[in-house]
Each structure stands twice: as C-alpha cells, then as structure tokens.
C-alpha cells in the first residue's frame, strides 16, 4: 500500500533484514491480532493514517527511496490492474485465449496465457508461492507500448469504444472532455485543463481523431499510470 514494506523486500522476513520501523510493525501486528485478524480493519487503519495520506511531492533529497515515509511514493499500476483500467477507460475488452470474452486481466489465473501487455509490464509467473514475483520497474518496452502500440491505439479508436460512443452522442466539447477526465483520472478537469484541452480539439481535423488524441494523452499521463 505504501510502495515500500516496513520490511523490504516484503517477503524477506529474517533477523538480518530488520523492519525499518520495528515499533510500528509490532503495533500493527498487535492491533491486527486484537481485532480478530480482520484484514478490512487493518486496511482501514492504514488508509486513515496520516502517513498513508501524505502527498507525493516532497523533498526527495532527504528520503529518495521512501524508507522514512516522508512522502507518498509514486507507484505504477500493476500490470493486470493497468490493463483493466485501459479497457475501462476505452470501453473495450481484451480477449485471453481460452477464457470467456470479458474476462478481466486481474482474473486471468494462468501465467502462461499469452499477453504481451502483461509480460511487458511484469506479472507473476507463479513459479513460487509469492506474489512478489511481479516486476514493477519501468523500462523502455513499456514506454514504447504505451506510446506506440497498435493494440492500445486500436482500443482508443475502437468502433464500439468510448470515443466512438461519445462522438455518436454528439455532446459538447466540454462535456466530452469532462467525461474523459472522469474516466481516466476519476476527477473533473480543472478550468485551465479544460481550456487547454478545448484548444487541442478545436481544429480542422476530424472530431473523432481529436478526441482519440486527447484520450491517448490522458492515458499516457503520469496521473493515470501511477498510484499517487
């Protein structure tokens, strides 16, 4: 949840790899026990904490790797979550071989199911009983895929996708922009964002293409790609 475990890496619990905040770990463990090992309670407790709610902008010179929890760590969405989010935003689906249409990436049980996206963004190969086997480090292939992949591009411009539906409904520019912001970022556009976006979509190109480009932009934004 925090982007970094009290014990890091999270599955490496041993005497020679102590927790960064042993008192906190003990306190959480005791509390967890006292509440009958209620995971929901634990999650609620963490989410309500001041530390969890810290903002992400901080002075990284002091605490680059977030070991002291002085600021919120940016974390890229996990591969499966990310793919599902892309599908939600574009109103499309990804079909996985041998699985029913509409299966969400998060529900794909078998790591051998072919998916370039999941491979590129790192998924657990489930060769060990540890979810930690998902690699979250960014790399060039991921950037290339988000920017330039024909698959993502096809999702954005899909005939039954969100953009196509919005264009068909023929709403105002501002309405469409607001819906795209809500879908990708879960918040309305600010005034200045709205103005900038309106400027982008007002030109002699096709309306469909303009909004495709806007949606691409939002989907490639840090705000969409990262938990923050």
């Amino acid at each position: 949840m925090m982007g970094r475990g009290l014990v890091e890496p999270v599955d490496d619990l041993r005497a020679t790899n102590p927790a960064s905040h042993p008192e906190l770990l003990d306190r959480l463990a005791t509390d967890f026990k006292e509440h009958g090992h209620d995971v929901k309670h634990l999650l609620r407790l963490i989410c309500n904490s001041r530390v969890y709610q810290l903002r992400s902008a901080a002075n990284p010179q002091v605490d680059i790797d977030g070991m002291f929890y002085t600021h919120r760590q940016f974390r890229r969405l996990q591969a499966a979550v990310f793919l599902d989010a892309i599908n939600d935003v574009t109103e499309t689906t990804t079909s996985f071989e041998g699985l029913p249409v509409g299966t969400r990436a998060l529900s794909v049980p078998d790591p051998t199911v072919q998916s370039y996206f999941l491979d590129a963004f790192g998924r657990s190969v489930r060769s060990t009983p540890c979810e930690c086997a998902t690699d979250q480090s960014p790399d060039l292939a991921q950037s290339l895929h988000l920017i330039n992949s024909p698959h993502i591009s096809a999702k954005i411009s899909a005939g039954n996708g969100r953009i196509a539906r919005l264009i068909k409904a023929d709403g105002s520019d501002a309405d469409i922009i607001q819906e795209l912001y809500l879908a990708t970022f879960g918040r309305p556009a600010t005034d200045s964002e709205l103005k900038t976006a309106e400027r982008f979509v007002k030109n002699d190109k096709s309306r469909q293409e303009n909004f495709e480009d806007l949606l691409w932009t939002l989907m490639n934004s840090t705000e969409f790609v990262f938990n923050h």
Binding site: P60, L140, S143, V225
Partner: protein, 448 residues
C-alpha cells in the same frame, strides 16, 4: 518450494523461469540511476573515438567445451566422449567434427582457457560470467546478497550511452537470461529485449514502428499535448524516483520511434536471401545476422542467446543435432561476414556459456555443470586471433593447468577491449561504493 509452472522457454535443469530479476529493492534504485543516466548522456556528447561494439553469443545452460573447442581425444573413452576432432584453418588446432564451418574460421578466433569460477548452479554461474562478480542465489535463483551487479552490456550502456538514437544494449532472445540486466545501476541500463523471432516472416520489433492508423504527425501532436497536460510531468525535475525515470524512458522511446536509423537496422528482410541462408534460417542464425546490422547502425552491445546447452542427458545426441549445427552455421557466418565488411577489427565477438561441463560422461550419456574449466572464444576488437590459445586444461579437461584467472579478470578483459573503465566507482542506493570490477586485471596475453 514447489514449481507450478510448466511452459517456459528455458531448457535448463533447474527448471526456473528466467524472468527478469530486477525486483528486489528495485524502487530505491531509481533515483540513483536517473542521475547517473543523465550524467552519462551528457558526457557522451563529448566522446569522440568510440566505434567499438560487442556481440556476445551466449550458450545458455553451459557449453560443453570438452566436446567442442577443448577436446581431449587421448583421454579414456568415458572422458573424451563420442565426438572426434577435425583439423581447422589453423594448422595443429582442432575442433569438434560437428563444427566444420567454425573450423574454417578458427584463424579468426582466439581462446581463453584460464577462467575458472565456483558457481556450480546456473544462476550464480550466470552472475559470475555475465557481471564478473560472485553472487549466491537462493533456491529460486533470487539473489541473497544485497547487491546485484550490472552485466557487461549494462556497464557499457552506463559508461558509453546511446549512439545514433539507438539503445546501446540489445538482447536477442526468446526468454530472459539470468542476471543479464543492469542490477543496481537501475533499469535504465537494461537491454532492449527483443523476443520476437527474427526468422519469422512478419518479424518486427514490438511497438517501434508508428501504427499507420496514427501516423507521424499525430504522434508528434500527442507528444506535445502530453507535455502540456501532464501536470505531474513538470514535477519530474524535483521528483526523483519512478516519475523521473519514466520520463527518461519516454524520451528514449521517442528517440527510437522517430529514428530512421533504428527502423533501418531492424529490417532484416533487406538482407540478400543467400546471406540469410548462410546465417541459417532459424532464430539464432537470423539473430546473429540482425546483430551485425545493429552493430552497423550503432548499437554497442548485442547478446544473442543460443538456448539449450544444459545437456545433463543425451549430451552427444543433442549437441550433434540441433545444438552444434546451429552454432556452427550462425557463428561462422557472423565471423566471415564481419571480416568481409571490415567490421571485425572494431567488433568484439565472444562465444561462451556460463560454465564448462563435467569431464566424465555421466550415466545418462550427459555431462553436468563444471565451472572449473571453460573455453571462451574471442574474435576481433583488438584480441589475438589466428587460433591463439591462452591457458591450458589438463588431459581430462578437469582443471586449469598453471594459474587460473578469475571472473573479475574476464570482466576486465572485456571492458578493456571495449574501452570501458573497469575501475569506475559507483554507489548503490545504500551508498556502498562498488567498482566496475573487483580488482580485475585484463588478461594481457589475449590482446594483440
């Protein structure tokens, strides 16, 4: 620990899936790597004399040197095995009968036989042989030590940076190669991993070409829209870590997408059919050909993986077909082609696996892991060729005669040939000072 996973590209005995290992503590490394990344890019702008490249033919699983380059025909049968030596282009020097075309290129190869290490399992052996440093992985091949070292290609990337808008380090392999990544330097120096098969009719690099439905103009427009609308983007200067790193990758991605040199380099179909035939119409053959094109275009370090050398059983059957014929064809074609184009002087070609194999044939007609001997083939890049052999193994290929050199020396030799400093000081995120090699000394005898 149990394994649930069945289908995997690796054919190694340990059955481990060769995924990328940069995950333990990867997040903390970002901050460091970006700073050094930017720094090295800035430095590279001033560099002038760097026309050197390297192609590593990696025989994954461990090439049996006693059956190929270091044969012992006079040893008892259970040692010398089934194969016979044949004469080569260098009088007095022999190689395995199943490497007839390589035999004709032996004047373009020099061998180093003094490198011994102690890594008896694949993962640690890969770390020894690909980074120069020891590593003790756990049963899942995950590193136990807190420092994962960068492999040669990543060090080259870090010290020498991009050239002609092409990534410095490319890996041509269906799967991942253990410890073949940037380790503590950060994923910015990982290889560009090309997993698609260059032998396939529809071969192309994932996502490098702009989709025709979008086109170059819109790609450019999207980029400028992103620059203006991404509010976190502007924080990047103050935000170390994932965001800054991602922005760097975005810039690299655009460099690659918009570079004509990159597109041209990957167009293997432009090679004449007879040359493609010469390299061999299979993945490794075409990958070797592609590596030559990448060298011409400006890539600094290319690894071509030859998979399946972990011959614990049926060693002789598998080597006879398909392993050695593929290596024979691709390796010999590469050396010949590089030489004909005058590229061999500036291109270091290395052929090796992570260890040799046991001198005595086992009950399954196989050979097991044996890190005490290896025979590493070097060509070009200022190394001695003409069948030169440095070092010697005993009459059963069971140990190095005389003093053995270490894995650190191997690393220093490779860095020295590529004009890379082997004593550069870096720090991992904990501030631990780490040298490119730990007191490695280039094996001077190997150089002209």
């Amino acid at each position: 620990m149990f394994e649930l996973h069945a289908q995997q590209p690796s054919r190694r005995c340990d059955g481990l899936h060769r995924r990328s290992f940069l995950k333990v503590g990867s997040l903390p490394f970002f901050g460091l790597s970006l700073a050094t990344l930017l720094e090295s890019r800035a430095q590279a702008a001033g560099t002038t004399t760097d026309n050197l490249s390297c192609i590593l033919l990696w025989c994954d699983g461990g090439l049996s040197t006693i059956d190929t380059f270091d044969m012992k025909p006079d040893a008892p049968r259970e040692y010398r095995g089934d194969f016979k030596p044949i004469s080569t282009s260098v009088p007095g020097l022999t190689v395995c009968e199943h490497l007839p075309r390589v035999a004709q290129q032996m004047h373009r190869i020099g061998q180093l036989r003094t490198i011994a290490h102690t890594g008896g399992q694949h993962a640690e052996a890969c770390h020894f042989m690909l980074t120069g440093y020891p590593q003790v992985p756990d049963v899942n091949a995950e590193p136990v030590g807190s420092v994962i070292h960068p492999c040669y290609g990543s060090v080259v990337s870090e010290q020498l940076s991009w050239r002609n808008n092409l990534p410095p380090f490319v890996q041509l392999s269906a799967g991942n190669i253990k410890y073949h990544h940037a380790g503590f330097l950060g994923s910015g120096y990982d290889p560009l991993r090309i997993k698609s098969d260059p032998n396939a009719a529809d071969f192309e690099i994932e996502d490098v070409s702009i989709p025709s439905s979008v086109g170059a103009d819109r790609t450019q427009r999207r980029r400028s829209m992103l620059a203006e609308l991404d509010r976190f983007h502007r924080l990047a200067d103050q935000t170390a870590g994932a965001i800054a790193e991602r922005n760097e990758f975005y810039n690299q991605a655009y460099d690659l997408i918009t570079s004509p040199a990159a597109k041209q380099a990957f167009r293997i179909e432009q090679e004449p059919a007879d040359l493609r035939d010469r390299y061999g119409r299979f993945r490794e053959g075409q990958a070797a050909l592609l590596s030559r094109r990448l060298v011409e275009a400006g890539v600094r370090f290319i690894t071509v993986e030859f998979n399946g050398y972990d011959t614990h059983d049926k060693n002789f059957i598998e080597l006879e077909t398909p392993l050695l014929p593929k290596l024979d064809q691709a390796y010999s074609a590469l050396l010949e082609d590089l030489a004909e184009r005058g590229l061999l002087e500036t291109t270091l070609v290395i052929c090796m696996g992570e260890f040799g194999r046991t001198p005595k044939v086992n009950g399954l007609a196989g050979r097991d892991h044996y890190p005490a001997v290896n025979s590493i083939c070097f060509s070009g890049g200022g190394m001695k060729m003409d069948g030169f052999v440095h070092g010697q193994t005993d009459d059963k290929c069971s140990q190095v005669v005389g003093s053995a050199a270490s894995h650190h020396d191997l690393a220093a030799t490779i860095y020295s040939a590529l004009g890379v400093a082997s004593n550069k000081l870096s720090h991992n995120i904990d501030g631990r000072p780490i040298l490119t090699t730990d007191n490695g000394h280039p094996v001077r005898e190997m150089f002209v």
